[in-house]
């Protein structure tokens, strides 16, 4: 459980520093079980900051989304630091970006939050579909506690916990400047049970499953935009010449896009689950990310987003990498 | 039942003229219609056409020839993106699709008897060339004509040979400029807005028409106001990324107007009222 006061004080203190431009954190959303990203420019703004199991969003996208607009005459670039409130997975995404030199560590201040898992907002919305008021959810002894129309609800954690959090190995930030509260104990060793079960199916069963999902893809690219690791200046999908993927929305192009997205995250995905949360067509994108994560771990003993100094998976090799399939 | 606005008519390239070579190459294509559009295609200077090269895509271009020239239309194309690069590979005899004409036009009727100042930069001269040629063909209806035109280098100037012809005439004044000094260049060196101040046209009974890169238009308008031009005396023609050309696809809006349908010609007082990103 994160102490709200401690968080706010830390943010206040950090944002008051001269070398800090702003801090991204969470605030109460506008309705129901939503939380929203919050930007603190002054210590006054920090009062809005919260952290609870509804704070799902990976805020690491914000520093990479920052647009570098042409400066006006005599205008100086603001190179002060950006602060981010990070959970375990968010911090790993950042490590991965640092590894790829997408951002510089010295331009960031990290307020780490030991996470105990976040809620799957879709599930909670389905359970209480008519909740218009913002509802604060608290975690108490393996239960989520919140009140709906003055009656207190107590729901077992495992019913509402987001799927990606169930097998989370790194709930504690791997890099941070300030840590709020006690580190969470890690109990789980990932089993990849869901992926393994799916792998048992026959090829045609698998394709039937994905076909159904890919047909629903509307190619809004929300998965890409929400992902903190999709930060290419121009995405391959947006190239016109050569056009890797046609713009028409059909099974072939949708599949190509989804292969491309998953592949470009191989060895980079940190399992924050943001793509799946953002997908309006509810494609189980994490399944694709997870299978690659599992294979990479088994074949190359590699885990993404742990050490900023490490080389990227595809940027390095081992002469003894498995090659049974090569003729 | 109206005609399908997305269907292009076929046109044959009758000639290709290389205006500028190099990285920012510019070519002028002369197009003649193949079907019944041959007879019923008419336009007023300032209007645009959608040119498609089948398989590459479609782009909006200002017609750069005058409507007094009935047999063909001309468009000048700078090589920049996917479609324009493909267009630049075409030769005489190849087929293109043409839709249009689209958009509004310069008020050539309303400008009769007035002095006209044209201020163009780079490829921005293309739509101006249409009006200029129209007006030269109806020379007696109009007052003094000044043409201020500039480009980055002398090699980047479009319609060079036409300017040679213009300079020979005594009823038109052409003021050419280049941005950076070169050997053998005896005319003005400097940006187009500065050349405008140099030429110093009188605002009385005058209309100023400008087209060029956004930043040039910005400073030209400022300088015109400095010279005493009123907002309604200044006209510009804009460009935007366009797809449908008929005000549906949404991308070319400035405020509630679409450049493809309600533009591309705007007077400055109109433009000032519009809330939108240009």
């Amino acid at each position: 459980m994160v102490d709200q006061k401690e968080l706010i004080n830390a943010v206040k203190e950090t944002v008051s520093r001269e070398d800090v431009r702003y801090i991204v954190g969470y605030e109460e959303g506008t309705y129901g079980f939503e939380t929203a990203p919050s930007f603190a420019y002054t210590s006054d703004d920090a009062r809005k900051f919260i952290f609870n199991p509804l704070c799902t969003k990976n805020l690491v996208v914000y520093p990479i989304l920052e647009e570098k607009l042409p400066l006006k005459r005599e205008e100086q670039e603001d190179d002060r630091k950006i602060g981010i409130v990070v959970k375990g997975c968010d911090s790993r995404a950042l490590v991965q970006i640092l590894q790829e030199k997408g951002l510089k560590r010295e331009n960031l201040v990290l307020i780490g939050i030991p996470c105990t898992g976040v809620v799957n907002t879709k599930k909670i919305k389905d359970k209480f579909p008519n909740q218009t008021e913002y509802t604060d959810v608290k975690e108490e002894k393996n239960h989520y506690v919140f009140s709906i129309e003055e009656s207190v609800q107590k729901i077992p954690k495992k019913e509402l916990l987001a799927d990606v959090c169930k097998e989370c190995e790194y709930p504690n930030p791997v890099i941070f400047d300030i840590l709020i509260g006690e580190e969470t104990e890690v109990e789980t060793e990932p089993t990849y049970i869901e992926v393994r079960e799916f792998e048992e199916k026959s090829l045609s069963e698998k394709w039937e499953y994905w076909k159904k999902h890919f047909e629903n893809c509307i190619r809004c690219y929300a998965c890409r935009e929400a992902c903190p690791l999709c930060y290419c200046k121009t995405c391959m999908a947006d190239f016109l010449d050569p056009q890797w993927i046609r713009r028409s929305v059909d099974l072939s192009e949708n599949t190509a896009w989804n292969i491309m997205r998953a592949f470009h995250l191989a060895g980079r995905c940190v399992s924050c689950g943001e793509c799946e949360r953002a997908c309006p067509a509810e494609i189980p994108l994490m399944k694709l990310n997870k299978v690659l994560e599992k294979e990479i771990r088994e074949l190359y003993d590699y885990t993404a987003g742990l050490d900023p100094e490490e080389k990227t998976l595809f940027g390095t090799f081992n002469p003894d990498d498995p090659e049974e399939f090569i003729m | 039942m109206k005609a399908n606005p997305y269907l292009p008519s076929l046109a044959i390239i009758e000639g290709v003229k290389e205006e500028v070579e190099g990285n920012r190459a510019i070519k002028t294509f002369r197009l003649a219609f193949q079907d019944d559009k041959k007879k019923n295609f008419s336009f007023i200077p300032g209007q645009c056409v959608m040119i498609s090269l089948f398989g590459s895509g479609e782009c909006m271009f200002a017609i750069s020839s005058s409507p007094t020239q009935k047999d063909y239309i001309e468009v000048s194309v700078m090589k920049h993106g996917k479609v324009t690069s493909a267009l630049h590979k075409l030769e005489k005899g190849d087929t293109l699709g043409v839709r249009g004409p689209y958009g509004n036009n310069f008020d050539v009727e309303g400008w009769k008897k007035r002095n006209l100042i044209f201020i163009g930069g780079g490829i921005g001269q293309a739509p101006l060339r249409s009006v200029i040629n129209y007006i030269l063909d109806n020379r007696e209806d109009y007052g003094n004509i000044d043409i201020i035109y500039g480009a980055r280098t002398s090699a980047d100037l479009c319609y060079k040979d036409e300017f040679v012809e213009l300079e020979k005439r005594n009823d038109v004044k052409a003021h050419l400029s280049i941005d950076v000094d070169e050997e053998h260049w005896e005319k003005y060196v400097g940006f187009v807005p500065d050349n405008l101040l140099e030429v110093n046209p009188a605002p009385e009974n005058a209309i100023a028409i400008t087209c060029g890169p956004p930043i040039m238009i910005h400073y030209v308008i400022q300088n015109l106001l400095k010279l005493g031009f009123k907002e309604e005396q200044i006209y510009t023609t804009l460009e935007m990324r366009m797809k449908c050309g008929i005000g549906i696809c949404g991308r070319c809006n400035i405020g509630n107007l679409y450049v493809c349908k309600d533009g591309p010609v705007f007077s400055y007082d109109q433009l000032k009222e519009l809330q939108g990103d240009i």
Binding site: P37, N130, Q131, N216, R224, E225 | L53, F54, T95
Partner: protein, 341 residues
Amino acid sequence: MENAIISKEKLPELFTQIIAKNKLFAPVKENGFSLFKEVEKASEIDTSYVNTRVPPKSIIFKQTETLFHFTPGKKGNVEKIPEENEKIVIYAIRTCDAKAFALLDPVFIGDFEDPYYSARRRNSVLIGLSCNNPGPACFCTSFDDSPASIEYVDILFTDLGYKYYIEGNSEIGKKFLEDHKTLFDAASGEDQKSRDKVEREAIGKIKRTMKLTGIVEKLDGMFDHPIWYESARKCIGCGTCTYLCPTCHCFDMQDESTLNKGARIRVWDSCMYPEYTHHASGHNPRPARMNRVRNRVYHKFNYFPKNTEVFGCTGCSRCIEYCSANIDIIEIINKIGEVKE
């Protein structure tokens, strides 16, 4: 025939009759969410939804549409495609989505007529289904509509438990009721009362309001207000709001071809992408997310009313509900209303 009722047992028979002569589009539940699909059997239809994920505009204004065929290359040629003339029935469309068609009509059938949209629109019958359980962010009442408005549909169904109350609106709707009248019973005054009660209850469930008085004029003076930076900071630029919006109509046109045949297609596009307005020269009139979010709000609440005298929003709440950064259009508009000039 004007007002009638149909018992739920007879409903499959009605669908069978419709399917025999028309293409029937109705909501189905797939992979855990609802969407409009062409249905072949009455049993596929699932009306237990608030609103479908992708709006039914996708039936009339398809996400991917072939405009015409061509022969690619230097010696190209154009080949028209035959006009679609199939009769379309859209069942269980919500009033907010039906209103969207009323908003899109002047766009697609204005100075120029979009033949693909207009052909389908002409051939379609909209059967509305009153929304008895509006979602938590719904706000159609802010536009003086109700979850059971009849103006925008040809026929309106209202669920009264074991039967549906049916009202015909347009000529097409009345004729449609006449054609299938063997399945209907006359509606009594009692039915009328329970229908009104259902509507009142549904309106009561809508808790959120967008304050729209004077917003068009207010926006006129707010183009450079800092509120746009504040609202757009959260935006991740994903475009979900526009793809799921029933009134967004932007599209991209592209050529697709093999060596010897090709087609010009159009696909939905979104003003939330930087590429959308990016000129080939490199200039971008809307380079920042601030410009793009501002454009979206202005388009719905300033440009649309200026051009067609109605707001370009129907209150379906999709853009609020599926935004992953909780950008709330109600909040933005209400904030604008509160700004002191």
